[in-house]
């Protein structure tokens, strides 16, 4: 169980320190693969419910959402920008937050649980850090998706898996965030494009 968690943590930490925004769909896909791995191994028996959940994570989070994000970023100069400004201060804060996140998780005093809570907390903290250090809407969108992956991972802390309606809602939320966020940050009238003209009517 700890191997996919470590993979999930790597997919969260590496892009923040070394990744460009253009590579974010890959890292989000990797996070999703780790999530799928955790979902499938969490269930003692590979029943229909577990299989459906694993499949949903893989299709929606590992394939659909990264594809949509990649399309939204295609051709944009933002792709070459860093996800988090690369300076010593930001790095120092990020490392401190990760350590604090694992300190938070350690309170549970159970190995896998502590590690899971630590990864969830680290992902949320890193997402907050990206939101506060990078004003590029595309980077902020990636941070929001990190946050939603943390929510999906949080589920594995529950004694019982979330029922299907909650799962479907979480997935719908993820896809809707990517779709609406991509529409807002990209295109000829996206957030990145300066506008001088107001729309003519109020309705």
């Amino acid at each position: 169980m700890s191997l996919p968690l470590i993979l999930c943590l790597i997919a969260t930490v590496i892009p923040v320190f070394f990744g460009k925004i253009g590579a974010a769909p890959f890292w989000l896909g990797l996070q999703a693969l780790a999530l799928g791995w955790i979902t499938l191994t969490r269930h003692h028996e590979l029943d229909v419910h577990a299989l459906a959940l694993g499949l949903e994570v893989l299709v929606v989070r590992a394939w659909l959402a990264p594809t949509l994000l990649r399309r939204a970023l295609a051709g944009s100069a933002v792709q070459r920008q860093e996800l988090m400004p690369s300076n010593l201060f930001a790095w120092g804060v990020a490392i401190s937050l990760i350590i604090l996140a694992f300190k938070f998780g350690d309170g549970a005093r159970a190995d896998v649980r502590a590690l899971t809570l630590g990864v969830v907390a680290a992902t949320v903290m890193i997402a907050f850090l990206v939101l506060s250090t990078n004003q590029t809407p595309a980077a902020q969108l990636v941070a929001m998706l990190f946050m939603e992956n943390a929510l999906a991972l949080f589920e594995s802390l529950m004694p019982e898996p979330w029922p299907l309606p909650v799962h479907l809602s979480v997935s719908a939320l993820y896809v809707a965030t990517v779709a609406v966020g991509s529409w807002l940050v990209s295109g000829p009238s996206g957030v990145l494009v300066p506008h001088g003209d107001a729309m003519e009517e109020d309705t």
């Binding site: 938070f104 309170g107 549970a108 005093r109 159970a110 649980r113 809570l117 969830v120 907390a121 949320v124 997402a127 907050f128 939101l131 809407p137 902020q140 929001m144 946050m147 943390a150 929510l151 949080f154 802390l157 529950m158 004694p159 979330w162 029922p163 309606p165 909650v166 809602s169 979480v170 719908a172 939320l173 809707a176 965030t177 609406v180 966020g181 529409w183 807002l184 940050v185 009238s189 996206g190 957030v191 300066p194 506008h195 001088g196 003209d197 107001a198 729309m199 003519e200 009517e201 109020d202 309705t203």
Partner: protein, 481 residues
Amino acid sequence: MSTPLPLSPDTARPAANEAPVQAHSVVSAALVGVAAAFWLASMLVFLTLPLEQLPLYLARRYLVLDATSLLFVMVVNTVFLGISVYIHSRERTSRVLKQDIRSRAGLVLLFMLVINIGILCNHLILLWILIELSTLCAAPLVARGNAASPKGVAWRYLLYSAMTLSITFLGFMCLAQSAQLRGVEISFAVDALGHALTSGGDSWQRLGFSFMLFGLGGKLGLAPLYAWLPETYEAAPTSTSALLAAVQFNISVVAVFRILQVFHGVEAHMVSQELLVMGYVSLVVAAVQVMAARNYKRLIAYACVSSSGVIALGLSVGKAAAYGVVLYVVSNAFVKSLLFLTAGRMRAVYGTNDVAPLSGVIRIMPFSGLLFTVGIFALLGFPPFASFLAEMLILSGIVQAGNLMAFTLMCVMLTVIFVATGRTVFPMLWGAPKREAPPSQETWLTTVPKLGFVGILIMLGTYTPDAITRLLREVAQSIGG
């Protein structure tokens, strides 16, 4: 001497000459039809189902029909009906709306569906997801506004929402941590979460509760996370501003009520302190900003921040002001809808949200001017409107609870807001007109929903039918401790 006024760009003419650009489409009529069906269904449930039979659990206990959900389903669907009639009537004179009606109606319907399910939700995490989904439905509607960069405004709205809801999510994590440390299994179903709580003053639990309230406070527009609200309400199309202020606001209120119901009596002191601080700061921020506002939509938006402050102060004293808070929340939904929809008419005629070019609105637009005046008086808590009664009940509750500091601050800030609003709005309404134009003709369709809102506000402030009083009392008891 009268000077020319920058007129609405779509017409470059006063409202009196606002000829119908095209006939109504089937889509907007269908929107009204669906809104009427939602409203009728909610009223039918209210009229046929005795309160004693509640709560009713539905869909494997994921949904619950109790006093809280019944009250808010009725309120949001009544507001939705009014807004849909407004959209239908505006479609005749707005080219932009006519071209865009399909996607806009679709998004509004999706938004309302999510809101209705959210209000009925019996699971905190599902409710959290549905609030965020409603934000994702509303963001494209906000992006159809008239700001210089409407997508930028919509993006910031989405971002703030994600931030505030992430703080709420941190709260869930802390509660899970608290339960795990005590060896208790935790479920986030509203009717089951209480079993995982302890009254022993667990610090993780306290932190979790604190985060949840703080995050949802941001969705309500409470300081310090209020910055999204004035910008969004100002820049969004008027019908969207009304949806956000009167409908989405209420799903966030339901979430706060659910949390208070779960934590019933647990961590009461901390709840009180946190709500007090957020209420104080919100009232002060709103008073300062209302003084500086020179834009009527922004002024209404800051008045919404002050309303959230009053709600927070009322909730902070618990039982003593609970009935007043519930009545205030309900009346506020209608006040905000009335004001935003009337502001939309003014924007359509004058082509600006600024107060400066507007003067003598009541002569150019007698009906809208009068309704805006009525809305402002209701907003400021004048009799015979429900907001007057609600504010009196909240103030009396605060005095009963012995919190004279909150009483004084609320009185002072509401007085400042009253003076500042009057100074800005009254010359705009009753000053000498800056242009010569015949009075605007308004169709009955435009005025009916607003008159309906005024009627409800007067009814709730003067004579409330027994059935509604009992429903309000049930909700008040559930949050009052």
